[in-house]
C-alpha cells in the first residue's frame, strides 16, 4: 500500500537527516525550537498584503538548508502535502477580492505556507525527535505526554508494518480492487486494534522487566553561549525584518 510505505520511508529519511553532523545539527535543540517558533509567529503576523516584507524571510530556510545539508527536493515534496488547504484559501482570495488585491494576497498566503512548513521541516530534519520531546519535558509539558509521544513514535513503524502485512494479504485475495471494501473495514481495523492490544501487553511486560515505572529519563545538557547567540540572531533578525522592509529598501536604492 503506497501511503503506508511512503510514510515509513519519509520517517526514516527524516531520521537519517537528523543524524547528520553539521553546524546546525550541533546547535542546542531548545535554541532551534525557540527560534523556529519565533520565526513562524513573526511570519504569520504579516498582513496578507505585504509580500515585499515577507520575501526577506526566505534567508532563514535557504541558509539553514545549505548549512545543514538537507536536499531541497525532499523538503519541496513534503511541502506539497500542506498545500491543498492553503491553495484553496488563496484561490478564494482571488475570487472574493478585487483582482490585484486577490493576487497579492494569494502570493502572500503561498509564501507564508512555504516559509512556515519549511521552518517546521528544517527543525525536525536537524534535530532528533527524542531530543525535541526531551525539550518539551524541560518546558514542563507533563511527563506522561512526553512518554506517550516518544513511545507512539517508536511504535509507528511496528504498527505500520503490521498494517502493511494485513493489507497486502487482503489485496492479494481480492481481485481488481484498490482499497478495502467498506463492509470489511470494521473487521480489518478491529483485528488491527486487537493486535495492537496484544502488542501493548508485550511491550509493557518487556518494559516492566527493564525497570519501567513511568519515569521519563533524558539527559539534560545546558545551552552554550553559541546557542544563545543563535536564538538572539535568528529571533532578532526576524523581528527586525518584521519592522524593516528589506526588499523595498533594496528596491529604493536602485
Amino acid at each position: 500500500m503506497a501511503s503506508l510505505y511512503h510514510a515509513s520511508v519519509n520517517i526514516s529519511n527524516l531520521e537519517q537527516l537528523a543524524m547528520q553532523k553539521s553546524i546546525i545539527h550541533k546547535i542546542h535543540p531548545m535554541a532551534k525550537l525557540i527560534s523556529a517558533i519565533v520565526y513562524i509567529v513573526v511570519v504569520i503576523s504579516f498582513s496578507y498584503k505585504n509580500i515585499t516584507g515577507l520575501v526577506p524571510f526566505i534567508f532563514y530556510p535557504v541558509i539553514l538548508i545549505s548549512l545543514a545539508n538537507i536536499p531541497y527536493k525532499f523538503l519541496l515534496k513534503r511541502t506539497v502535502i500542506a498545500l491543498p488547504f492553503s491553495l484553496m484559501a488563496g484561490i478564494s482570495n482571488i475570487i472574493f477580492m478585487p483582482f490585484t488585491d486577490g493576487m497579492i494576497s494569494f502570493v502572500a498566503v503561498m509564501l507564508k505556507t512555504f516559509l512556515t512548513v519549511f521552518a517546521a521541516l528544517i527543525l525536525i530534519a536537524t534535530t532528533p525527535f527524542t531530543e525535541i520531546t526531551h525539550q518539551l519535558n524541560i518546558l514542563r509539558i507533563p511527563k506522561i505526554l512526553c512518554l506517550l509521544i516518544v513511545m507512539t513514535y517508536r511504535y509507528l513503524s511496528v504498527l505500520m508494518t503490521e498494517a502493511f502485512i494485513m493489507h497486502t494479504a487482503y489485496i492479494l485475495r481480492s481481485h481488481k480492487q484498490n482499497g478495502i471494501k467498506l463492509k470489511d473495514i470494521g473487521f480489518f481495523l478491529g483485528q488491527l486494534v486487537l493486535k495492537s492490544f496484544d502488542r501493548a501487553e508485550r511491550v509493557y511486560n518487556s518494559m516492566k522487566c527493564r525497570g519501567f515505572d513511568g519515569t521519563y529519563y533524558g539527559k539534560y545538557s545546558g545551552m552554550r553561549i553559541s546557542d544563545i547567540v543563535y536564538i538572539v540572531v535568528v529571533a532578532g533578525l526576524a523581528i527586525f525584518l518584521r519592522v524593516f522592509n528589506l526588499s523595498l529598501f533594496i528596491g529604493g536604492i536602485i
Partner: protein, 322 residues
C-alpha cells in the same frame, strides 16, 4: 481537515494553543485521578495508549472504497479512541499523534497544532463522545445497536463541530478572504458525509471488538464520570474567549508600537519604510517596480548565499578527502 499555519493569525493560534494546553492539562490530571496511586499514574496505560496511537496513525493511511462513488476515504479515529481508551487518555493519544503528523508530515503546522488538537481531539473526545456516545451507551447498555447509533451520531457531531471550528478560526484570522457563510456552507455538508462514513466505520470496528473482546469496551464505560460535559464545554468556551480577548488586546496595541518604531527608524535613516496598513499603497502606488525589483534581488541574494555555502562545503569536503 488540518488547519495550517499560513491561514492563522498569531492571536487565534496563540489562543487555541493555550486552550489545547488546558485540555491536555485537564486530561493528565484526570488520568492521575483515576489511578489508585495519584502520585504514580497507572503506568500500564502508557504502552496501550502509545500503541493505539500508532494504530490510529496506521489506520489513517488505510483507504477503503466508498460504494457507489468510486472514491476512497480513511478514518480520523477520535471517537474510536475515546470508546476504547476513555475520553481523556484518547485526547492525550491524539495529541501525540497530531504532533508527530505536524512535524514529520507537515500536516498542519507548529502554531496550528493547538487548533488541530482542538478541532480533531477536543471536539471528538471531550465534546461529541461525552454528550452523545457516553449517555447513549449508559442509558441503553452496550450492544450492537446502541454502539452503531452512538458511534454514527457522535462521529457526525464531532466532525461538524471540528469543521465549524476550522471555519471560525479561518474567518477570525482573516488571512483568507473567504466569506464566512460560503465557507461554512462548503465545509459543513462535506463533513456531514465524512462524518456518516466515519461513524459507520467506527461502529463496525467497535462492534467487532465488542463481539470478540467485550471487556475492552466494558471497562471504559463503567468508570464514573466526574466532569459534566456541558460544564466542560462552557469552561472551554469561556477560556477561549478570555484568552482570545487578552491576546487580541495585545495584538491591537502592537501595531501602535510598530508604527512608533517605524517612525523612529524613518527619522534616523531617512528612508520610508512600509507598514502593514500602508503596505498596499506602497505596493500598488508608491513604487510597485521598486518593490518587485527589491524582492527579486532579495530572493537572488538568498539563493546565492545558499549556493555559495553549498560550493564552499563541497570544496571543503574535496580538500578533506584529498
Amino acid at each position: 481537515m488540518h488547519m495550517v499555519d499560513a491561514l492563522l493569525s498569531p492571536a487565534v493560534g496563540g489562543a487555541m494553543t493555550a486552550v489545547s494546553v488546558g485540555a491536555i492539562g485537564l486530561s493528565v490530571a484526570k488520568i492521575k485521578n483515576t489511578s489508585e496511586n495519584p502520585d504514580k499514574f497507572d503506568e500500564k496505560k502508557i504502552p496501550v495508549m502509545a500503541v493505539l496511537g500508532a494504530f490510529i496513525f496506521a489506520a489513517q493511511m488505510i483507504n477503503f472504497t466508498i460504494p457507489g462513488t468510486g472514491s476512497s476515504g480513511h478514518i480520523g479515529g477520535g471517537i474510536l479512541l475515546a470508546a476504547i481508551l476513555g475520553p481523556f487518555p484518547a485526547l492525550l493519544t491524539l495529541a501525540s499523534v497530531l504532533l508527530i503528523q505536524c512535524l514529520f508530515f507537515a500536516d498542519g503546522g507548529l502554531l496550528a497544532y493547538g487548533c488541530n488538537l482542538f478541532n480533531m481531539g477536543v471536539c471528538a473526545c471531550l465534546f461529541a463522545y461525552q454528550i452523545i456516545y457516553k449517555p447513549i451507551i449508559k442509558k441503553w447498555g452496550l450492544n450492537k445497536k446502541t454502539i452503531f447509533v452512538a458511534a454514527v451520531f457522535s462521529a457526525i457531531t464531532g466532525l461538524q463541530a471540528g469543521a465549524f471550528m476550522v471555519v471560525l478560526q479561518t474567518a477570525i484570522s482573516g488571512v483568507a478572504n473567504l466569506p464566512f457563510a460560503t465557507f461554512a456552507a462548503l465545509m459543513q455538508p462535506i463533513h456531514l458525509i465524512i462524518g456518516i462514513i466515519e461513524g459507520i466505520v467506527t461502529a463496525a470496528v467497535l462492534c467487532f471488538i465488542h463481539s470478540v473482546r467485550p471487556e475492552i469496551l466494558d471497562n471504559n464505560i463503567s468508570r464514573t464520570n466526574t466532569v459534566r460535559p456541558y460544564k466542560l464545554l462552557i469552561i472551554f468556551i469561556i477560556l477561549t474567549l478570555i484568552i482570545g480577548g487578552v491576546i487580541s488586546i495585545f495584538a491591537s496595541q502592537l501595531p501602535d508600537g510598530l508604527e512608533w518604531s517605524i517612525e523612529k527608524t524613518e527619522e534616523i535613516s531617512g528612508i520610508e519604510i512600509s507598514n502593514d496598513d500602508t503596505a498596499e499603497n506602497i505596493v500598488l502606488e508608491y513604487s510597485p517596480i521598486g518593490g518587485i525589483i527589491g524582492s527579486i534581488i532579495t530572493v537572488a541574494l538568498a539563493g546565492s548565499i545558499g549556493f555559495i555555502i553549498h560550493i564552499a562545503k563541497k570544496q571543503r569536503k574535496q580538500t578533506g578527502e584529498s
